[in-house]
Symmetry: C2
Subunit: 161 residues, 2 copies
């Protein structure tokens, strides 16, 4: 069962026979899969009326549990964006009525961002749709294979944690 990455690796092997191309088989597939996953995410979210970046922020608040509030600093660390980006994102989410911003009573430099009921509803719907889309991706793998894959990815991810 050949795929597009086999073609890509073959082309490199022809052009650069001096190199060991073993990493390509893993990382090219990983990159491509990630891109397809992003597209599928976007599609699932569009049907729910939100964008991927909105989900990333709302989901972090939702996961935090009631009362669904975190600081911008915490949010940017959870979502791996810069502070300027998070300011902008919170602005737009507040305009949409999905979050509210108010001063942190414990730190006058700080701000807390809280999910509104509308935001909670939006993120819950989006997460359900996302899981459904992701499950469709996994149907070609047995439960055992899914577990093996998760374990292998965990090993690769370990150095970064």
């Amino acid at each position: 069962m050949r795929d597009e990455v086999d073609d890509l690796a073959e082309a490199w092997a022809r052009e650069r026979p001096d190199l060991d191309l073993a990493p390509v088989a893993v990382f090219s597939r990983l990159s491509r899969l990630s891109r397809h996953l992003d597209l599928a995410r976007r599609e699932a979210f569009t049907a729910q009326g939100i964008e991927p970046w909105e989900f990333d922020v709302l989901a972090a608040l939702r996961r935090a549990g009631a009362p669904y509030e975190l600081s911008p600093g915490r949010l940017l660390r959870e979502t791996l964006v810069t502070s300027g980006t998070m300011t902008n994102r919170v602005d737009r989410l507040a305009t949409r009525g999905f979050v509210e911003r108010y001063p942190d009573p414990e730190d006058r430099r700080g701000v807390l961002v809280r999910l509104t009921p509308e935001g909670k509803e939006a993120v819950d719907g989006a997460f359900t749709a996302l899981l459904e889309a992701e499950r469709a991706f996994l149907t070609d793998l047995t439960a055992r294979q899914q577990g093996d894959l998760a374990d292998l990815l965990r090993k690769l991810l370990a150095p970064f944690s």
Copy 2:
């Protein structure tokens, strides 16, 4: 061996006990790994004086083999960007002297983009650096595990080919 995704899944399980979260174990790790991989790529390329988007274009030309030329249309299909983006990328690569643009003798609408010797040198250096960085990621996996991982990813990728 717990990782950050276990924490994330646990938080979701606490908040949404009604959902089957199996896909999270695979896809959250995949997304995170992809992000770390992008950062590592950027770093490897920076040391070689080029940017990831430059590599994507130059590598497609390099893989094509001598005389290292492709149309913008072919390049945008290989790199999955829009035509406006490719116009801009080729402009900047031409300014840097890594590619040349000239009219397609067979189709007067068309253009061919060709790698210059400087571009070839740059992409060859960058690819070597990239493989080295990627190999470092894989040291925690046995050759057998690397093969298993590639096979599982190939299965997930198959529906898109």
